[in-house]
């Protein structure tokens, strides 16, 4: 059957025939890099127009509807505008850090693409410590933000960056504990194993209420980690003009913007992988006929469907909930999410030990 893994395998065989195994590896790395950058650009365009449409419909507006059919080319027009704008560096800024920061934010987002399984047997790097890698690398994104805030030499930027630091450090904890719930149930931190374990049902169904609680905590924590409303204290338009990217313009600003959307995609992809089975079709226990029908839908469609559902959920949050104050934000994490996720993890462990899950 036509699938991503077949295409990848055929390209691999063809390159090995053509140039030998060493150069084939080099060329495959180049192809993978180009593919990731291409995916970034495509995701940026799609997610921006999706966000604007969702925002408009939720706020009883029409949204962009002038450029292209139903306004679908609006984000392309915006990209062209950002590309031709001047990327200014303020006089008092630290030039090196200021110019490097957007790229750090992008590189962190790119690194996180490595262990994600986009379809059946289609993954850049099938490592055995996938979950650990993701939690470790995703916390690096705060460095880009802190760098931007510090280098801008602007009090609003610095305040935004500091808030973002406090926020990410806090919410990493409950996010990590929520991820651990699935790791405990699977008994492995390899993403491939986690997906394989969901062959007879996704964890959100198999794991009873504790996994649902873990999922809710996960979605709250990643909304905070990606600095999106209602946790967008790092940019907080009404208080800090634009927070850490106040001084950025042109393509440097666009890179921050893109990194935010890519991070949203990645955390949703990871959430889909952990709780909704990644590319695994909807299988219900031993219903062979039903499972067979579901297998006919390609695995990449399942993966992107679940991921975009979670992205929509996060967008829905953004356009519904008001922004929290910094003390409310930290209260929510340290007084509610962390204790709940700790108790929840104990419950999940109990379920895993006693084999109560399906």
């Amino acid at each position: 059957m036509w699938s991503f893994s077949e295409i990848a395998k055929n390209i691999d065989l063809w390159l090995n025939d053509l140039v030998g195994s060493t150069w084939a590896l080099v060329l495959e790395m180049v192809i993978a890099g180009v593919a990731v950058i291409g995916l970034f650009a495509a995701l940026g365009l799609v997610l921006v127009i999706m966000e604007r449409k969702v925002a408009a419909w939720i706020q009883i507006r029409l949204g962009p509807n002038r450029v292209g059919p139903k306004g679908m080319f609006q984000s392309m027009a915006d990209t062209v505008k950002l590309l031709v704008k001047e990327g200014m560096t303020p006089d008092g800024a630290d030039r090196l850090l200021f110019n490097v920061a957007p790229f750090i934010a992008m590189i962190v987002a790119m690194l996180l693409m490595a262990p994600i399984a986009f379809a059946k047997d289609f993954q850049l790097w099938d490592m055995n410590i996938g979950v650990l890698y993701i939690t470790a690398v995703s916390s690096l994104s705060v460095i880009g933000i802190l760098m931007a805030g510090w280098a801008s030499n602007n009090k609003y930027s610095l305040l935004g960056a500091m808030r973002s630091g406090a926020q990410i450090v806090s919410y990493e904890l409950s996010g990590g504990l929520a991820i651990l719930a699935v790791v405990v149930l699977t008994g492995s931190i390899s993403l491939t194993d986690i997906i394989k374990a969901q062959e007879n049902g996704w964890w959100i169904f198999k794991g009873h209420i504790p996994v649902i609680i873990a999922f809710i905590i996960y979605i709250i924590a990643v909304t905070a980690e990606t600095n999106r409303a209602p946790f967008d204290l790092a940019e907080a338009e009404s208080e800090l003009t634009a927070g850490f990217h106040t001084e950025y313009s042109g393509m440097k600003f666009a890179l921050f913007f893109l990194a935010e959307y890519i991070n949203v995609f990645i955390v949703c992809a990871i959430g889909a992988t952990l709780f909704f089975g990644g590319w695994m079709p909807l299988h219900i226990g031993n219903w062979q006929a039903f499972n067979h029908i579901m297998d006919y839908i390609p695995s990449s469609v399942w993966f992107f469907g679940k991921t975009f559902f979670l992205i929509f959920l996060i967008m829905w949050f953004r356009w519904t909930f008001p922004r929290l104050r910094i003390d409310q934000l930290l209260n929510l994490e340290w007084k509610y999410l962390l204790p709940i996720s700790m108790i929840n993890l104990l419950l999940v462990t109990l379920i895993a030990i006693l084999g109560w899950h399906f």
Partner: protein, 159 residues
């Protein structure tokens, strides 16, 4: 009862979040609720609210008669002097009495802030606010308007 309050807190928080999401979810799926007016496109079918204050007009009936007696209440009520009423004295043909009437009702749209105090001050409801808003012109002299039409006179029985 710390634990009880704690759990009650969480439950009520989740409930209120769900209420909000239900509302926005309703708007997201029901596009008929959209209130955007695509202005220049729907210019012909545009409906403005009854109470919209665009400019002051003086309604005339089919006999070219209005209800303005020239009492200048509106001129006095106007906070920024955008109304100037020039009065004259008509001589009644039958009785020979002199009677006050308006000659020109001058309205400076460029000074007007659409507060509507003149409409409230008018004892005979001779003027009202019209729901129009396309007032831009290239020559600002065009913003000084004469509201009473040529040859119009006050309706009988208004006073």
């Amino acid at each position: 009862m710390f634990i009880k309050d704690y759990i009650k807190d969480i439950a009520s928080a989740l409930k209120s979040l769900a209420t909000g999401m239900k509302m926005t979810g309703y708007y997201f799926t029901h596009h008929k609720e959209i209130i955007t007016e695509q202005y220049p496109d729907n210019r012909d079918t545009l409906v403005l609210a009854e109470r919209f204050k665009g400019e002051v007009v003086m309604p005339h009936d089919e006999n070219n008669e209005h209800a303005c007696t020239g009492c200048t209440s509106c001129e006095l009520a106007c906070p920024n002097g955008s109304i100037k009423i020039i009065t004259k004295f008509d001589v009644d043909a039958e009785t020979g009495k002199r009677k006050k009437a308006i000659d020109t009702w001058v309205y400076h749209l460029d000074l007007c802030t659409m507060c509507g105090l003149c409409v409230e001050a008018c004892p005979t409801n001779a003027i009202k606010m019209a729901p129009t808003f396309e007032h831009s012109v290239f020559d600002r002299n065009k913003l000084v308007k004469k509201l009473n039409e040529d040859g119009s006179k006050v309706r009988a029985g208004v006073e």
